[in-house]
């Protein structure tokens, strides 16, 4: 297990290098002078000249990458073109907000997906199973932004049950209750696709477990159905579910980006959206980097969890 963990952790180094390299290249792939792009069109000639020297634009490409990477590691993510402040001061709170939203949608996806999947899988072909699986088919293809709009229309505008914009009320700024209220609709919208996938997976792995040879064995030896369900079937569907959770985090984060725009959630997604429209390159670079790194880290944690459940790897 330890050697696996070390191997797995070492394996993310080349991935992170690749990711950072890709993000770094964005500046060079857009035609024009990188220094101008980083400082914005309004920059003075002196500032551009100074930045050109800082970036080492006269030096070879890979050395430039090295300089950029060193800056990143020092925590210097550059300055926002549109806001004229350091990128990290803007982005870190936004990253946290995005992670809150992703966490909320992960909770919705897991609780909803597992519950529906288990109920459906325990009684296949029951009416509950048929109905939920019918909807799950659509769920996997729901355009997240559309669902966000529909939910907002029904629950915020028509019924007025839940807030439609932002992360908290101006009056009760920051209270947990207020954030939770604001979190519900965006979480559901962002979770929809993963929830459907999760419900289907849970159902099918539960059915597979029930049809497996070992369940047949335990039944043949008179083990109670309770033990078969709770001890054996549940334990064996855990790995595929955890695996899928890891795969779905990407989709949840992607969903969050859309949902943030619809619900004006002050996260990385909204920020990226306005940064792209405002051509604020340093912000775009850092935002992309943040999301990609969190994604890689979440997957790492997930892989280690899955491995710790698998007896073949544990020993």
């Amino acid at each position: 297990m330890l050697s696996y963990a070390i191997k797995r952790i070492l394996a993310i180094i080349p991935i992170l290098m690749g990711v950072s390299f890709l993000v770094f290249s964005i500046v060079y792939l857009i035609p024009g002078d990188p220094a101008v792009k980083i400082l914005g069109q309004a920059a003075t000639d002196e500032a551009v000249a100074e930045l050109r020297k800082d970036l080492g634009l006269d030096k070879p490409f890979f050395i430039q990458y090295g300089i950029w990477l060193a800056n990143m590691l020092k925590g210097d993510l550059g300055t926002s073109i549109t806001m004229r402040v350091s990128v990290d001061s803007v982005l870190i709170p936004k990253l946290i907000n995005t992670l809150i939203l992703t966490g909320g949608s992960l909770a919705v996806c897991l609780i909803g997906g597992l519950l529906i999947g288990l109920l459906a899988g325990l009684k296949p072909y029951s009416w509950f199973d048929r109905i939920s699986m019918f909807f799950a088919q659509f769920g996997a293809n729901v355009p997240v932004f559309w669902l966000a709009i529909v939910l907002m229309w029904i629950f915020s505008i028509k019924l007025g049950w839940l807030p439609a914009f932002g992360m908290y009320d101006m009056r009760t700024e920051g209270s947990t209750w207020s954030i939770l209220q604001h979190l519900i609709l965006p979480s559901i919208a962002a979770a929809s696709v993963s929830l459907a996938v999760m419900a289907r997976l849970t159902r099918s792995s539960l059915i597979d477990a029930f049809n497996s040879d070992y369940v047949k064995t335990f039944r043949a030896y008179g083990i109670s159905e309770k033990n078969i369900v709770f001890k054996h079937a549940f334990r064996n569907i855990l790995s595929p579910i955890l695996n899928m959770t890891g795969l779905q985090v990407g989709s949840l984060m992607g969903g969050a980006l859309f949902v943030e725009v619809v619900f004006s959630w002050p996260g990385l997604g909204s920020q990226l959206y306005s940064s792209i429209t405002g051509q604020d390159l340093p912000m775009v670079q850092a935002g992309v980097l943040f999301i990609a790194i969190s994604f890689v880290l979440v997957n790492l944690i997930n892989d280690l969890l899955v491995a710790s459940l698998n007896p073949r790897l544990r020993h």
Binding site: I26, N141, F145, W153, I157, M253, L281, V284, V296
Partner: protein
């Protein structure tokens, strides 16, 4: 000359009309199995209708999709002359839906078709030849996998600027890793099977094995997967349009129509934003149904059940 007789015979047999008939029968048989799968048939039907409507847009669209009419704005569903109503700029929603299907279908179908052969080659290279090339391909894919798909698309848009081409390139880049992985996994499973061993013993070289033996078995997997993926690409493309990274106004596109409609949601006109999204959902699901149906069709185990 006698030696060659059997060869001639097989040739004659192959050209015999009965053999051709048999092949037709096989297709017919497949169709007979396929048509029992109601969802798949429904999916195919929806896709065909969507394609036909998009193709015939200039003929069947009741109005010009881009001409605004200042006197009529935000009319609801069922208005006389405008079955699906009119949007915030006074444009007929039905006409815009019909025209918008062109962009939405194209931005999904074209990238997947383009990436089809590329992913086959990459997947075969990585899965069958392995070695250094394979390793490099797989590590590059790992990097692409470490971006949530939407994010990768956003990176592309940041580089290329908004436009239909941007959406297509984004779709290509985000779908390629997934398609390649499917080819890779099925190549790896196929190459350990006995018939490959048999072909090797019979003296086939690597190229022959890869293209004559493995490829036909891998292609069916990829076709199935790609069909479902078109639906995913459609939703992704619509999402990028929704973010304003795709078509530029006034061109109609289902994703863009949704985002335009969002602005008038509070004005009591939810249909402007919700109808296009519903269409995306239905057509994307249709591709999924078709993909599922094809998978069952190609998988003999499932077929007998």
């Amino acid at each position: 000359m006698e030696k060659f007789e059997p060869v001639l015979e097989t040739k004659q047999v192959l050209q015999h009309p009965l053999v051709f008939d048999r092949k037709e029968n096989k297709l017919k048989k497949l169709w007979n199995v396929f048509k029992k799968d109601k969802l798949a048939v429904m999916g195919l039907f929806i896709i065909l209708v969507a394609a036909a409507v998009s193709l015939l847009a200039p003929i069947i669209a009741p109005y010009d999709p881009n001409i605004s009419n200042g006197s009529k704005r935000l009319l609801g569903i069922g208005t006389a002359g405008h079955i699906l109503g009119v949007d915030e700029q006074g444009r007929d929603i039905l006409s815009r839906l019909i025209w918008g299907g062109r962009t939405s279908l194209l931005t999904a179908v074209v990238p997947i078709t383009c990436m089809f052969s590329l992913s086959l080659i990459l997947g075969l290279l990585a899965g069958y030849w392995g070695g250094k090339t394979g390793e490099v391909i797989m590590r590059l894919l790992d990097v692409l996998f470490s971006f949530p798909t939407v994010l990768l698309a956003i990176v592309v848009s940041a580089i290329m600027g908004a436009g239909v081409l941007t959406i297509m390139v984004s779709c290509c880049l985000t779908m390629l890793p997934y398609m390649t992985r499917v080819v890779y996994t099925s190549t790896v499973t196929e190459k350990t099977k006995e018939y490959i061993e048999a072909a090797k013993i019979l003296g086939a070289n690597k190229l022959q094995i890869a293209f004559k033996e493995i490829l036909p078995n891998v292609v069916s997997d990829l076709i199935v997967y790609s069909t479902s993926l078109i639906g995913v690409a459609m939703v992704l493309g619509a999402g990028l349009s929704f973010l304003g990274l795709g078509v530029q106004p006034p061109t109609a596109d289902w994703g863009k129509m949704t985002s335009d409609g969002m602005k008038v949601l509070t004005l009591g006109a939810p249909h402007v934003a919700t109808i296009p999204g519903l269409i995306i959902l239905i057509v994307a699901t249709a591709f999924n149904w078709l993909g599922d149906g094809l998978r069952d069709l190609f998988d003999p185990h499932k077929r007998t059940q």
